[in-house]
């Protein structure tokens, strides 16, 4: 199985939101709907505060509870990889996948009603390009590649830098990592 991962350097991210705009433009999302978003997390007690910006999206988990919950097989993994996609012509809009996602990363496409989500821009990935959010990042804090390739940038970054993933306690095995 090919494992694609996104690695985001929280020391370089300035929370500009360009990744969000790039995603909306690339994927032609209607007004008000977002597949990715930026969180500002502040930790500590004044005056000893630390702040990190995190660009978040679907974590394309290798143990994706949304895939398991889907009753029609509309939610599936792309080409023997961990990239989780939705096939609108199989989706009933039952919303089981939304309830099953601990990251609340899914959305209901309006006005059609099928369920939508981040695709890691698989249409770009199959052409050898990075996802739109990664390409647009002005500080180059986002990286994308194959974790199953030990020589890829994402593998080398995770091998050499301290990092974390979100809500690992859920057991979903998320594949978006944050360098800390």
């Amino acid at each position: 199985m090919k494992v694609y991962a996104m690695v985001i350097d929280t020391n370089l991210c300035i929370g500009c939101g360009d990744c969000v705009v790039a995603c909306k433009t690339e994927n032609k999302l209607p007004a008000g709907l977002n597949r990715d978003w930026v969180v500002e997390a502040t930790r500590g007690r004044y005056p000893d505060l630390t702040t990190e910006f995190r660009s978040e999206r679907c974590n394309h988990c290798t143990h994706a509870t949304c895939v398991h919950a889907c009753p029609t097989g509309a939610t599936y993994t792309w080409q023997n990889s961990n990239i989780v996609l939705v096939e609108p012509s199989k989706c009933t809009g039952c919303k089981a996948c939304i309830a099953a996602c601990p990251y609340d990363a899914r959305l209901i496409m309006t006005p059609d009603g099928y369920i939508d989500k981040c695709t890691f821009c698989h249409h770009r990935v199959e052409k050898g390009q990075d996802p739109a959010c990664v390409s647009a990042c002005p500080t180059h804090c986002m990286h994308f590649g194959l974790l199953s390739d030990a020589q890829s940038t994402v593998s080398r970054l995770l091998a050499t830098r301290p990092h974390k993933a979100l809500l690992e306690e859920t057991g979903n095995e998320p594949q978006v990592y944050y360098l800390t």
């Binding site: 008000g32 709907l33 029609t72 989706c91 009933t92 089981a96 609340d104 209901i108 369920i115 859920t170």
Partner: protein, 331 residues
Amino acid sequence: MLEEVLVTVRDNPGIDPSLSVWHWEIPAYLFLGGLTAGILLFASLIVLLGREKDFPFVSRRLPIWAFVALSLGMLALFLDLSHKFYVWRFYTTFQVSSPMSWGSWILLLVYPVIILLTACTLREGYPALGRLVDRFRAGHAGINFACRHRVLVAQWGLILAVFLGFYTGILLSAFSARPFWNTGFLAPLFLVSGMSAAAALVLLGTRSEHERHMFTRIDIVLIAIKLSLIALLLVNLATGSRVQIEASQMVFGGEFAIPFWVFLVIPGLMIPLILEYWELKGTRRAWMLVSPVLVLYGSYMLRQLTVDMGQASSYISYVNAFDPALLELLR
């Protein structure tokens, strides 16, 4: 201290500011599915025990209400779908890991069993309807077939009733992402609640003193089990992981405390338990129609609050300061 604030716009309908994708339709479906399971269980049990004469309402008039309840429940489920034209996709596959897929196939098996169980009761329970069906050769043969295989149908009915009742709880408890739902107590709670709702329906419909007395006794036991299971569920959550403890706090002083205690536990469980106890003792008979209505109300409210509280409980707790009204200014 940790504060997490969204710094870009996120206003996905139904997802933000907090999850609210399921409204009244899914609670109604779970309630009617549970009621169907309860009816099927009692109706099958009476046939298998050979006690039809002792329980005239259950054996003759109750099964058709399972058909009505399940049909309304399926309608509610259909209304909930946001991509309705693709509803047939449920029946083009079987996803073994998806409780909803299991449920859709269980419902497909339950329907013919209910129809067969009902068919055999039509001539005695609903003579006008029975005569109408008997006029058609297929209908006449169908009723005869159903009556000939009544015991076999009841055996299947009993098994499927338990599956259906458990399924309505497992549907929610399988969502590990929602801490309030993620407990094994939901399945037995929803099965017992469905049985209690069916017992309440019997109390509303029966004119037999013996049947009323027996089902009052049954319902008292079921309500007591329901209260115990709710207590165990809360203990289970309150002694669980951090997110489960936070989920349990919603009913102990949190935003759902008043709906849970004032609109569910007291009127939907405690009061009918007292009224049915009085009924059993032969006092305050004038209240005997109030308690089953309250039991039915409590059974629905249990699903409504469970669905709402599950959606309100989450692993994430962003502060979403986005005001959707600002979008209008850009248009």
